[in-house]
Amino acid sequence: MLKAENVTKKYGQQTAVDDVSLKVQDNAVTVIVGESGSGKSTLARMLSLIESPDSGEIILDDKKTDRKSAKANRRLVQLVMQDAASSLDPHQSARQVIDEPLKLLLGFDKAKRAKRTDELCDMVQFPKDRLKNKVSELSGGQQKRLCIARALAAEPKYIIFDESFSGLDVTLRRCILTMLKKLREKLETGFLIITHDLDTAMYMADRIYVMRFGKMIETLDDPKSFLDFKENYSKELVRAAEYKRQALKL
């Protein structure tokens, strides 16, 4: 289990994350919903051990993490960022992107790497004939798949998706989400999805957290429908979706 316990992070005067606790379970999808500026990206960076909190603890498998252990643990928590194009080194080829974690984190030799790359491409449905292409020559969907493949290559215990699906065309988003959902069932990996989009949240989640102004305001342990929310703000979030749903007579 990956846990945040009473985590606080400040940037100057601004408190980005204020006394937040949450659990990311193994073999399940946890979702954080919140508007932009609610501090969810900061939380994501802390959970993926890139930044350390000002106070509070990030606990990975019952062990507290600090700056030293963060490096050793880095393989176990992988982050997929929002914009695929800018989160990949533009001068690398797709194969090099996947090769790097295989070589540096897992120490695979060349033959093993090639085999594993093949498997990963199948998992995320990345076309193999595009592996030799530069990142900048790939389409948006292919870049996103490559980002996911790279994260999977490290064989992590947890993958954090920080707004990874916003900004995609809706049909592509659905494609990738269905793929991830199937993949989740096969793998022993915990997913944490951070999003402002309720559709994505409801589609993927086993547990939902709602965040606002840096605080965790609501937890939905067993989301069955939109209507289970209790807090006013969460209900407000749901209202537009409900409103549209009524119009479609669903």
Partner: protein, 272 residues
């Protein structure tokens, strides 16, 4: 990348001009119709003719030959200078980024002090230090100019380092050193190429202006700047003498500048 360069006329013109300069530099003795140093006072201010395609100067030396050999002198000083500046600035920027913290701060302080000194002043102070005039010119320009380039390269490195993909690289297990060598430097390489090819044109002009100030090479050396000074006093009687070396400096500097700027447009269409 190469395809894009070939499709851009500005880059092609720049390359053609650069190649011309290099060709003239390498094959200077073969091109030169006469000995550039040969003084023939009987022939002074000769009209352009078969033997002297551009005529002769006030000492009866063949202008064409002097211009051609001048390319060699200029470039043989300019190239090592820019090379040294490139090595120093990339190395420093990489070290600053790798170690960071106090080393980086120290670098900023030292470089700010150096930047407060006008490069020409530094260069002029140092130019007399060494026996060999050429070497002292190289060293004085390097000492005067390294800080400007190192600052720029450091900014490139820092800017590249703040891009989101660096986080992805860390996630993939890259060490700091690997991030600098394998990710940052390849990505800023086109920018460096631009920086140093435009920088080269600056150095060419600087060398010529040294000669113009009388700080350069031995008097009588066939060098563009020196020719310019020499022609200065004849500006009213024989203005063409000042035009020829001037055009040569312009040609070489413009060639590198054109190429560099075309390269920048290709690498980064949003900037510039």
């Amino acid at each position: 990348m190469i395809g894009k360069i070939l499709r851009k006329p500005q880059a092609l013109i720049g390359i053609a001009m650069m190649l011309t300069v290099f060709a003239v530099m390498i094959f200077a003795p073969a091109f030169a119709p006469n000995d550039p140093g040969k003084v023939d006072i009987m022939q002074k201010f000769a009209e352009p003719c078969k033997q002297y395609p551009l005529g002769t100067d006030d000492m009866g030396r063949c202008i064409t030959s002097r211009l051609i050999c001048g390319a060699r002198v200029s470039m043989s000083i300019a190239l090592p200078t820019i090379g040294a500046i490139a090595v120093i600035s990339v190395l420093l920027a990489a070290v600053c980024s790798y170690i960071g913290g106090i080393v980086d701060k120290l670098f900023v302080i030292v470089s700010n002090i150096f930047m407060a000194l006008p490069p020409f002043l530094v260069a002029m102070t140092l130019v007399g230090l060494f026996e060999s005039k050429a070497l002292s010119i190289v060293i004085s320009i390097v000492v005067a100019m390294w800080v400007w380039n190192a600052q720029v390269v450091r900014t490139y490195v820092l800017r590249e380092k703040s891009k989101p993909y660096i986080i992805t690289c860390r996630m993939s297990g890259c060490s700091e050193l690997r991030i600098i060598l394998r990710h940052i430097i390849p990505n800023i390489f086109p920018h460096l190429l631009v920086l140093y090819s435009t920088g080269l044109s600056g150095v060419i002009i600087m060398i010529s202006s040294y000669a113009f100030l009388g700080l350069g090479l031995e008097t009588g050396t066939a060098e563009w700047g020196a020719m310019l000074v020499n022609a200065n006093k004849l500006i009213f009687s024989h203005p063409e003498l000042i035009v020829y070396p001037g055009l040569c400096i312009l040609f070489a500097a413009a060639g590198f500048n054109l190429f560099g700027e075309a390269l920048r447009d290709i690498c980064d269409p949003r900037e510039g």
